[in-house]
């Protein structure tokens, strides 16, 4: 039995093609994935991301607990509403999950984690909590739903639908959130490389939000477009681009690990002792003859690598990928990719491929 979000009936009524996404019945597209992709790059789209889980952490020691639990340092979050992207590491510095941590009050943070890893994350956080002894209370917010409104016109679409939120959210900078009313959080975050908001609210209110932004011009977008958008933006997908077999350094996430202080976060010792296994870089297919996909083998100057995510880029009109390549591989290098029975030429680039509608490669 698949889990459903509160918007399931709305997706079906809109003609969505539904798929099993990690146990959730989710829309993959509402007709054309490519048109949905372009809507987000050029104007505005809206995604149901209610399968993602919010976990509230409360108590006096919550900041110290998260400074121990997360590889990035929540000490950077000093203004209420500020958010931070981080990995959660295991004892060998493998990535248990990637998440966003929001600071609301000195005794209240929220983590937004991936759907497929949420239960495991919560178990893990309970274990760390017992270990650290800060007495933090964890609460899985299964009562919340979430939408992501993304694109250059996304914020205007949201404000036009809900003008009463404008004053509280207009001054938000990227990676900052505001609480609107009791239980609505509007965050200037996303997973597309475009401007926009991610809005969480009580499950029974999410249909009003969805219908409001759609009426204001945001196009309903499925997980298909979400994947091509995030890949163009050079953002990792958990389970594909990293998992417990990879350290953040193997997944291009060194920028999310804060080693500036002596902070003893969980997994740090293992991370510092563990040699980097690969360079995580982008590929652009130069030959015709197929599409780059996960698990294809890459032959580079210094040895073999492997694609972790690949697709056709609707913005660039070529196939692109994220790949684990031999350490020392540099942007600009030409590599060969095994696509079925052919070896196709590709060029190594530093992601992202596209940001704010503009090609960067």
């Amino acid at each position: 039995m698949l889990k459903t979000t509160p918007l399931n009936a709305i997706h079906r009524a809109a003609g969505a093609r539904m798929v099993d996404f990690g146990g959730w019945d989710m829309p993959v597209n509402y007709g054309s994935q490519i048109e949905e992709h372009h809507a987000v790059r050029r104007s505005a789209g809206v995604f149901d991301v209610s399968h993602m889980r919010s976990v509230d952490l409360e108590g006096k020691g919550v900041r110290d607990f998260l400074r121990f639990a997360l590889a990035n340092d929540v000490a950077k979050l000093q203004v209420p509403g500020k958010a931070l992207y981080s990995c959660l590491l295991d004892e060998s510095a493998g990535v248990i999950d990637d998440l966003i941590a929001y600071f609301f009050r000195d005794d209240w943070f929220r983590l937004v984690v991936n759907a497929g890893t949420a239960d495991g994350d919560i178990d893990w956080l309970h274990r760390l909590n017992a270990l650290a002894g800060h007495g933090v209370a964890l609460r899985s917010r299964d009562d919340l739903a979430m939408i992501a409104v993304q694109g250059p016109q996304a914020r205007e679409a949201f404000w036009s639908a809900f003008p009463e939120t404008r004053s509280a959210t207009e001054a938000l900078v990227p990676f900052q959130a505001a609480r609107v009313g009791d239980d609505i959080v509007v965050a200037r975050t996303g997973y597309t490389g475009e401007d926009g908001f991610e809005v969480s609210c009580p499950a029974e209110e999410v249909a009003t939000l969805w219908n409001g932004v759609v009426a204001a011009g945001a196009r309903p977008c499925g997980l298909g477009a979400r994947d091509t958008l995030r890949l163009e933006a050079g953002m990792n997908l958990y389970g594909q681009d990293m998992d417990t077999g990879a350290s953040p350094f193997d997944a291009g996430l060194a920028w999310t690990v804060d080693l500036t202080s002596a902070r003893g976060f969980f997994g740090r010792k293992a991370l510092e002792a563990r040699p980097r296994a690969c360079d995580f870089l982008g590929l652009v297919l130069e030959d015709k003859g197929g599409v780059l996909r996960a698990h294809q083998i890459v032959v580079a100057e210094r040895g073999e690598g492997e694609i972790t995510s690949g697709t056709f880029s609707p913005t660039l009109g070529v196939s692109i990928a994220l790949a684990r390549l031999p350490v020392g591989t540099a942007p600009g290098e030409k590599v060969r990719v095994q696509v079925r029975d052919k070896e196709l030429a590709a060029r190594v680039v530093k992601p992202p491929f596209v940001r704010h509608g503009k090609p960067l490669i």
Binding site: G289, V291, R340
Partner: protein
């Protein structure tokens, strides 16, 4: 499900149409294109290749996935639809107009062994 009754079908989601010159045009069904989503690459078999019935002879790739295409009947490839190289999205717009290749059948009677529209509809609904 759009299924022209004059065409023949395979369980692997190809359609085949007998042309006036005795060749057989082959494409993928509307159901197949809908399942694949936006198509971005097509590789039909090369002209001159001898195909065995049921053999994997090419590939169609959407943004989402790659899918093999199979020969519905035995024969020799006599033409490919080169327009699809530059505009593979035509398959999404008109699956039964966007033929991928034409073959000269080894035995035209083989067409009768394929599924008719009703049988294909039943097979693809399962």
């Amino acid at each position: 499900m759009i299924l022209p009754p004059e065409l023949k079908y395979t369980a692997s989601h190809e359609w085949a149409r007998l042309e006036a010159d005795g060749t057989v045009s082959v494409g993928i069904t509307d159901h197949a294109q809908a399942q694949l989503g936006d198509i971005v690459f097509v590789e039909p078999p090369k002209v001159g290749r001898q195909l065995a019935a049921g053999e994997s002879v090419g590939v169609v790739e959407s943004v989402k996935a790659a899918s093999d295409i199979y020969a519905p009947i035995a024969g020799e490839v006599v033409a490919t639809n080169d327009d699809l190289g530059a505009s593979p999205e035509r398959i999404n717009a008109d699956a039964y107009g966007a033929w991928m290749y034409r073959l000269k059948p080894a035995d035209p009677a083989d067409l009768e062994k394929l599924l008719d529209s009703a049988a294909y509809e039943k097979a693809s609904a399962e």
